[in-house]
C-alpha cells in the first residue's frame, strides 16, 4: 500500500459520512429528533431497518421545531442531492409531493393494507392526488391538560369540563396563592392554548370552517370573538415570569408544584415520567375543556426520488419498518406519543396514552379528529403564521380587544392568500 493510498484509507475511516451514497444498501435520512428519548425511539426503526440488511445514515438537524432541518432539505434539493428520506411535519410533505420529488408508495400501501390501518383523518398528510407519499410513525395529541394532583386535591379542584370552569378554577387557585397555569410568552405555546379554546368552545365543525377552511365569515364570527375573550381570561391565570420560558421548564413548574396546570401536547408527559411521577398518582392528564376533540400531530417520513436501485430498495425497507405494528408500539412507548396505526395493542402503554387511544377512537367515530394548528397541520404555514402573529400579539398586549384581534386575523389571512 502506498503512503497515498494509506492516507486515502485513513481519511475514509475517519470520515465515514463523507460518501454515504456510495455505500451499498444504506439509507440517508434527515430528521430533527435530537433529544435523548427521540434518538432512542428512532433507534427502534433503524434497528428494524438493519435487520432487513440496510444501514441507516443519520443526518439529524435539530433546532427551531424542525425549521433548521427543512432549510437543510431545501439546500439539498436545490443542489440536486436529496436525502433518501425525510421527516415531515404538517404541510411539508404535501408541498414536496406537489413539487413532484417524492416516490409514490401506492404499491406498498395496497400490498400491505396500510390505508385501512390509519385513521382516515390523517390520510391527507400522507396522500395527495391519489398518491401515497409518506408513512406515519406516531401521533401526538396536542390538547392535553397536565395537572399537579397534590395541588388539585389540596384545593379541592376537579378537572374542568368547560372553559368557564377552567377560569373559575384559576380564580380559586389564584386566591389561594397558587399560579393556576404554567405558560410561556412563546407564541406557539399560546397558540396551543388558543386552538384548544377554538375547538372546545366552537366545536369541531367551527374549527373546520374557520381554521382549516379559513372562511372569512367564520373567522369574523362571534364565536371567534368569544374565543379571544376566553384567551384574555386565561391570560390572567399565568405568573409574570413567562418571558421566553421553555415548554419543558413550564412543565417542570407543574411537576414541582409551583403551578397547577399546563396545556401542552403529550410530549410534556415525558417530563413527569422522567421525574419518577406516575399518571393518576402524582400528576393528572385530561383533555382540554369544552367539546371533546382530538387535536393531532403526526410525524411521517417521505421518500425522495432517486435513480440508484440500492437506495430504492432501502426506501421500501424503511417504509415497511416504519409501518411495522411492533416497531410503532416500541417507538411510541419511548417517544410518549401513540402509534399512527390504530391496530396496535395498547396494553403496555401508561394511563394517559390509554386515554389517548380511547379518545382517538371516539373522535374518529364522532368526526372530532382535528389536525393541530400550532405544528402546521390545520393550514399551510403562510396562514398558520397569521394565527401565530395575531394570537401572540393579543396575548401579550393588554390593550388589544378581541374585536381588534379578529379584524387583524381576517386582514392577515386575506393578505397571505
Amino acid at each position: 500500500m502506498t503512503p497515498f493510498a494509506r492516507l486515502l484509507l485513513a481519511t475514509a475511516i475517519a470520515l465515514p459520512d463523507v460518501a454515504p451514497a456510495l455505500a451499498e444498501g444504506s439509507l440517508e435520512g434527515i430528521h430533527h429528533w435530537v433529544s435523548e428519548s427521540e434518538v432512542n425511539a428512532l433507534k427502534v426503526i433503524t434497528d428494524k431497518l438493519a435487520s432487513k440488511g440496510f444501514t441507516w445514515v443519520d443526518s439529524a438537524v435539530g433546532g427551531l421545531s424542525g425549521a433548521n432541518a427543512t432549510q437543510a432539505l431545501r439546500t439539498r434539493i436545490a443542489a440536486g442531492n436529496p436525502p433518501a428520506t425525510m421527516q415531515f411535519l404538517g404541510y411539508e410533505g404535501i408541498d414536496w409531493a406537489a413539487e413532484g420529488v417524492l416516490v409514490s408508495l401506492n404499491d406498498l400501501y395496497a400490498a400491505n393494507g396500510w390505508e385501512a390501518a390509519l385513521p382516515p383523518q390523517i390520510l391527507q398528510f400522507v396522500k395527495a392526488d391519489d398518491t401515497f407519499f409518506a408513512t406515519p410513525v406516531n401521533m401526538h395529541r396536542q390538547n392535553w391538560v397536565w395537572a399537579n394532583k397534590a395541588i388539585f386535591d389540596q384545593h379541592d379542584i376537579t378537572p374542568p369540563t368547560t372553559w368557564e370552569e377552567m377560569i373559575a378554577a384559576g380564580d380559586k387557585l389564584r386566591a389561594a396563592g397558587v399560579t393556576p397555569l404554567s405558560l410561556s410568552d412563546e407564541t406557539w405555546q399560546i397558540l396551543e392554548v388558543f386552538e384548544s379554546i377554538l375547538a372546545g368552545q366552537g366545536g369541531a365543525e367551527f374549527y373546520r370552517t374557520a381554521v382549516m377552511g379559513l372562511d372569512p365569515d367564520a373567522l369574523a364570527s362571534e364565536t371567534m370573538v368569544k374565543a379571544f375573550d376566553t384567551l384574555r381570561a386565561v391570560s390572567g391565570m399565568v405568573d409574570e415570569g413567562i418571558a421566553g420560558r421553555d415548554w419543558a421548564v413550564a412543565t417542570g413548574r407543574v411537576a414541582a408544584g409551583e403551578a397547577a396546570m399546563q396545556i401542552m401536547g403529550d410530549w410534556a408527559k415525558g417530563e413527569f415520567l422522567a421525574k419518577g411521577m406516575q399518571p393518576g398518582v402524582e400528576f393528572l392528564c385530561f383533555p382540554t375543556p369544552g367539546e371533546a376533540h382530538f387535536s393531532f400531530v403526526i410525524d411521517a417520513f417521505g421518500m425522495f426520488r432517486n435513480s440508484d436501485p440500492n437506495v430504492t430498495a432501502a426506501q421500501i425497507a424503511w417504509a415497511e419498518s416504519i409501518m411495522d405494528p411492533e416497531v410503532q408500539r416500541q417507538f411510541n412507548l419511548i417517544k410518549g406519543s401513540i402509534p399512527a396505526r390504530i391496530d396496535v395493542p395498547v396494553d403496555d402503554f401508561d394511563a394517559c396514552a390509554k386515554q389517548g387511544f380511547a379518545d382517538r377512537e371516539a373522535a374518529i367515530a364522532s368526526g372530532a379528529m382535528l389536525p393541530g394548528l400550532t405544528d402546521g397541520f390545520a393550514v399551510p404555514p403562510q396562514f398558520a403564521g397569521v394565527f401565530f402573529d395575531v394570537v401572540g400579539a393579543f396575548f401579550v398586549t393588554a390593550g388589544m380587544t378581541s374585536q381588534d384581534a379578529v379584524s387583524s386575523l381576517v386582514a392577515g389571512i386575506e393578505n397571505a392568500r
Binding site: L64, A78, D95, G241, A243, G244, A393, T397
Partner: protein, 298 residues
C-alpha cells in the same frame, strides 16, 4: 531602444491582479450575483422553492401590508438609532476616561472588552435571565426589600425592544471604546499642550479639538455598529425570539421566518431587497462623502 518587458516585469505588473482575481470572483458570485437572484425571486410568485415567473411588485405589496413587517421596520429604526447613539457616547466616554493615564488601565480595558468575546447568543441568553422579572434584577431588588421595584420590560411588547438595545449596548460598548482609545492614542500630545497654552479648558479641548480629530475612528465605529444592528439576528432570537408576540421582530428575523418557516420565499426576498435598499440609502451617501473628503484631505 527600449528593452522588451521580461517575464518578471510582466509578472510583477500582473501579480496584484492575479492575486486579487479569485476573491473578486468569489465576491461577485457570493454577493452581487445572489443580490440579483434575490431581486429576481422578489418579483416572482415563489413560495416554498424559487419559481421563476414574474408577478410584478405583488410580493412587495403583501410585505408592506403585513403588520409584522411594519413592526420590524419601526424596531430597526428605534434599535439602530439608540444602539448607535448610546454605544458611541458610552464608548467615547469610557475611552476618554481611560485615556487619563490612570492606574490599572490594562486591567480595566480588558474588562470592558470582555463582552465582545461572547457571541450574541450567549449575551442574549444571559440578559434574558437578567431581565426576567422572576429571575433577575427585579427579583434581586424585591428580595433585598425594595418591593415596589419593577423591571419587567422584557414581558411588555412596548418596551421589549429597549431590552435588546440594552444587551446590544452592553456587548458592543467595549468595542467602540477600543477603537476610540486607539484614535485618542494617535493624537499628538503637542496639540493638546498648544491648546492648553492658549488657555482652553479640558472639556473645551476634548469637545473642539480631540473629538473632531476622532472622525476616522467614528466612521469605522458607525459602519461596523450599523451592520451589527442590521444583521442583529442571533441576539433577538436568543433574547426574545422576536416576542412577546412579535413586538421585537427585526427585518432579519422577519426574512428568515417568511422564507424558511412560512413558505413565503417571495415575501422574504422582497424584505431582503428592502433591507438592502435601506442600507444603501443611508450608507452610500455617507461613505461617499467621508471617503471623498479623505482623498481631498491628503
Amino acid at each position: 531602444m527600449r528593452r522588451a518587458p521580461s517575464f518578471r516585469d510582466r509578472l510583477a505588473r500582473r501579480l496584484p491582479q492575479l492575486v486579487l482575481s479569485p476573491s473578486l470572483v468569489v465576491v461577485f458570485i457570493g454577493v452581487y450575483l445572489f443580490i440579483a437572484w434575490t431581486g429576481w425571486v422578489s418579483v416572482s410568485s415563489s413560495r416554498m422553492l424559487p419559481r421563476y415567473d414574474f408577478v410584478g411588485l405583488e410580493q412587495y405589496g403583501r410585505l408592506w401590508a403585513t403588520p409584522r413587517w411594519q413592526t420590524a421596520v419601526t424596531n430597526l429604526f428605534i434599535f439602530t438609532a439608540l444602539f448607535l447613539a448610546v454605544t458611541i457616547a458610552l464608548g467615547l466616554l469610557i475611552a476618554i476616561l481611560l485615556d487619563q493615564r490612570i492606574r490599572a488601565e490594562g486591567f480595566l480595558r480588558t474588562i470592558y472588552l470582555y463582552p465582545m468575546a461572547l457571541s450574541f447568543i450567549v449575551t442574549g441568553t444571559a440578559w434574558k435571565w437578567v431581565m426576567n422579572p422572576t429571575l433577575g434584577v427585579q427579583k434581586v431588588m424585591n428580595d433585598l426589600g425594595w418591593d415596589s421595584f419593577v423591571f419587567d420590560w422584557i414581558t411588555r411588547p412596548e418596551f421589549a425592544i429597549y431590552c435588546i438595545v440594552i444587551a446590544a449596548v452592553w456587548q458592543s460598548t467595549g468595542f467602540a471604546m477600543a477603537i476610540f482609545l486607539a484614535g485618542l492614542r494617535g493624537i499628538d500630545n503637542s496639540i493638546i499642550k498648544a491648546a492648553q497654552i492658549e488657555g482652553a479648558g479640558l472639556p473645551r479641548i476634548y469637545w473642539s479639538i480631540i473629538v473632531p480629530m476622532l472622525r476616522p475612528a467614528l466612521l469605522s465605529v458607525v459602519v461596523l455598529l450599523s451592520y451589527i444592528s442590521i444583521k442583529s439576528f442571533d441576539l433577538v432570537l436568543a433574547l426574545t425570539n422576536a416576542g412577546p408576540g412579535s413586538a421585537t421582530e427585526m427585518p432579519s428575523t422577519f426574512m428568515f421566518s417568511a422564507t424558511f418557516r412560512r413558505n413565503q420565499m417571495g415575501v422574504g426576498a422582497a424584505s431582503a431587497i428592502m433591507m438592502l435598499m435601506a442600507v444603501a440609502a443611508i450608507f452610500v451617501p455617507y461613505l461617499y462623502s467621508e471617503l471623498r473628503e479623505d482623498r481631498h484631505g491628503r
